[in-house]
Symmetry: C2
DNA sequence: GAAACTGTGTGACCTACATCACAATTGAAA
DNA sequence: TTTCAATTGTGATGTAGGTCACACAGTTTC
């Protein structure tokens, strides 16, 4: 499937655009490819775009003072990724985004997103609902963090994203769950 | 200050509306008052509105199977509160909202919010940015949960909302931080 | 004023998970 | 095929924070 079709199908789940409107919408995106391991957003960078994943897997993560990694999100096809704090506020990146596998993405700059939102009312509606869903999902994850132990969270993750298990190294799964890789190893060997 | 002025000042931080537009916008809100301890949204309820706080303090929280409480958010004047998962999805409430102190609020139904978003482009813009900010804030809190210990999170909370300390019982602060009240007590007596 | 309730402090003990150390396995590169 | 690095498993030990128990405020109710 073509990038354009993938995006169209994704957007159509929330809003309805005429073909001309969608052509215009799509014209603001730039196609790019990245290699496994490549950094798309690094700490300290000026962040001016967000990525819509066409193929492959990304991760967005934070590195603390002890060089320990915490994964905020895995991004798979039709998901969006960026350092949204930086993107929305104009500050420098504190969150990194890189490729777990080779990946194809569509880039949308912040300027263009705001332009589209201004020019196409439905476009603003789309982005509002995208954030609404992200907000609720993040809140659920926060609750799970407070409420459940690591084993529970691990099972939750696998139930939700079974594909991750085979594609993503266990270390990264551990970083997402907020436990050490040793603890994760013990969890599923019992 | 009048409810209308409070909302206007709040909305004006993100968007610009003409007086007629704002009058229309405001006409969709309903003024209500609640007493300390009163429940605004209870588990299992059908959720059809969200609350804009004019005065007083609310909390939104989740109760798990062991009857343990986890606070998702405190809401203070000019903040919004609801069970957004339920509100956006149409499902029954899993999150409760109640009053920590007597409170005055403006209610906006989901139907009216969507109506306003359809009819006033700037309105949709406002609600998009409100959620954008909520999303980033929740993500930061999630990161803090993964990264920092309870003491650090406690100091973070006090630095951000110094007023909470005097108004909100320590038990609730503990529920927000995700620690037992005993642990919290030990934290700040050392 | 006694009684009853809600909020808080503090000790003793327990548990989930971290950390460190090193072994075993896999997989890419040469 | 050998080599080297990255990834994973596993034991021993440490610790933050949980749980239970009870004491001691303030505050509301009769």
């Amino acid at each position: 499937m073509q990038p354009k079709e993938i995006l169209k199908e994704h957007v159509s789940k929330t809003i309805t655009l005429t073909d001309e409107q969608f052509d215009y919408f799509f014209s603001h995106f730039t196609y790019k490819t990245f290699k496994k391991g490549q950094t798309m957003i690094g700490e300290g960078d000026k962040v001016d775009c967000e990525y819509f994943v066409l193929s492959g897997y990304l991760k967005s993560f934070f590195i603390n003072d002890d060089m320990k990694m915490f994964i905020l999100q895995f991004a798979m096809p039709t998901w969006w990724a960026s350092d949204y704090n930086a993107l929305y506020s104009g500050e420098r990146a504190t969150v990194n985004v890189d490729c777990i596998t080779d990946a194809e993405v569509l880039c949308l700059t912040s300027k263009d997103r705001e332009k589209l939102c201004r020019e196409i009312h439905e476009g603003e509606h789309f982005f509002r609902w995208r954030t609404n869903k992200g907000y609720v999902a993040t809140q659920k994850r926060l609750l799970s963090f407070m409420n459940n132990d690591a084993k529970h969270r691990y099972e939750e993750l696998l139930a939700q994203y079974p594909t991750l298990y085979n594609i993503v190294p266990k270390q990264l799964i551990a970083s997402y769950l907020g436990v050490s890789r040793e603890t994760l190893s013990r969890l599923y060997h019992s």
